[in-house]
Amino acid sequence: MPLLWLRVALVFYGLGLVYALLALARKAESLAKVAMPALWLGLTFHFVSLAELTLEQGHLTPSTVHHSESLLAFLIAAVFLAFWVKYKTVSPGIFVFPLVFVLTLAAAIGQQPQEFTSPLLRKGWIFVHVTLIFLGYAALFLSFVTSMLYLVQERRLKSKNMGKWLRLPPLQVIDEIGYRALLLGFPFMTLGLIAGAIVAQEQFGAGFFRDPKIALSIMVWVIYMVLLFTRWSAGWRGRRAAFLSTFAFIAAVGTWAANYLSGTHRFLGP
């Protein structure tokens, strides 16, 4: 059943994706009318899917790669929705929908890969660690998206040619969304890392940070902090901020991929 609900959610995300792409060609208002209700519905079914999966496995922590993809997609969509509620702008959806769709698709295709069998997963700390880090990723992704949109809007204003193909929110609103996303995500990321460190310290001893995934995670966190600091102290925006957040995004993707290299994050039985 969880897979069925996930696939229903996938259909709604797909609908949202189509409308997000249509928004490239048309006025954004038409996008919001279909895309956002589709996102609501998708999130609802997604939540049901995640809840059932949790009941089935008997603990909260994702126990397969697909499960974690599903959780990440859910959190990204939820963060996007939260910002939509506040700012009523669907433009980040142009990037958010494709990512949510692809992650959900990967999770919904259903070929169950190796299961994480480590008894570690039954510890509450790991769930806290995973969820907080994922929330941090979701916020980071949104701020990466907005920094791209900022560049586009800035270029359009500078070139004095406001094409009609895409209606973006005002520059300052884009900027504010990005900054808020950073502010929101940073504590999550920090607490998530701390939670992870506690578990790892207990499990693997002091040398855990030599693990490639952990090292990359710390790098992402550092870039995160640099982004926030330059923004707070010098008001870095536009190109410089976009550069940094692209860097952070790539590092975050690398961290995600590093699961396959990481000893501490393979979670394969003892």
Partner: protein
Amino acid sequence: MTFVLIGVNHNSAPVEVREQLAIPESRLAEAITRLAQFPGVEEGMILSTCNRVELIANVGNSSVDLRGFLREYFQTDTDLLAGHLYEYREQEAMRHIFRVAASLDSMIVGEPQVLGQVKAAYAVACGVGALHSQLHALISRAFAVAKRVRTETAIGSSAVSVASAAVDLATQIFGSLAGKHIYLVGAGKMSELAARHLIAGGAEAIFVANRTHARALSLAEKFQGTAIRFEELHETADRADIVITSTGSPYAIFRREHGERFLHRRKNRPMFFIDIAVPRDVDPEMNKLDGIFVYDIDDLQAVVSANVASREREAARAHEIIEAELQRFIARLQTQEVAPTIISLQEHLENIRQAELDRARGRLGKLTAEQESAVEALTRGIINKVLHTPITALKNAAGDAESNTVIDHVRRIFNLTPRNLNPGNSDSQGPGTKNSDLKSGNARRIPIGRSREKQEEPVREEEKKATPS
């Protein structure tokens, strides 16, 4: 039924002509009442704004000339208006009212006020009972069409003046203008206008600097802002989010190094320079700095003309919508027009058939079920054959100028009473009443020029008040 529309607008007539015909709001109800009572007019409405005066009426007979009403109401010689007055009938009249309501006929295509003005005129006409089914249907359709045009095209969404383009750009940079600071450097009509627009958009606190400090003081007073000495300009400019420059300086006042300093002090918060001066006050190099946006007068003009062009493109799309809606409306009207006649014609013959059947039944005696149905089929067949030609003729005539004559003839030939023709529609009158109205109307028509001097003055006075609307 025929729609007739006559009027003048900003294209057809100069303001001197339009103001002669303008009807102030206070007298509109009375004017519409008189129009509705004008011989031959069944329903009427008058739209009087600063850009147009239009009379639209549903007349019983297509020979009714609304110029006669103008002559009578304004006591004026319509020959003088001849070159300015336009007249549309039927389909053209409907199309015109659709175009007016959708703001395609406006001086600034897509401006939103005209729809409100049409709605106000409609409300007045309804209030005095000058609208019945047909014109009522037309005008409400015009509102629906205008709404469709507004939602389905981007006709009203772009700025078409330099000042509103500046506001539009500022909004694209800052979002809400609330709390944003404006700096006026130099004085000028255009920069004042831009500032006024920005303030109307929510911008706050104004700083004013001018080479002549007295001028800055008076301008600051006008905007309830702060005057700043010109020498302190570069020290204070970073306080503003939007800087409007229009000095007569022969060289650029704001250069790249200034911009860098402003950005540093502002922690890179964006700044918007609107440079209306020629030669330019802001070095175009400034636009290359991250966070500074410079628009000179040509850039603003380019935005405006791009918007005007896009409005024209949208107008073409709006035109398609209007044509489609027009055809739909006409089709609806046509069936409405002939449908009652067709129905009563069918009823009439059916009654004859039933009566004849009843009479014959006694002589026929008892019939078998088969015979019964044969008689039924025979009689039905006959009336259907008889009805075929008149019904086809009615359907074909629907929408023609001749339709009234055809309906009239069919009614007369089949002896259908007018009461039967329009069940439940007491508003429209039968052909008999129309004709008698028209005859008495012709007789009542007042010769032009009578008591003209006596009435001219008060009318003129009111009109003048109304023109700036």
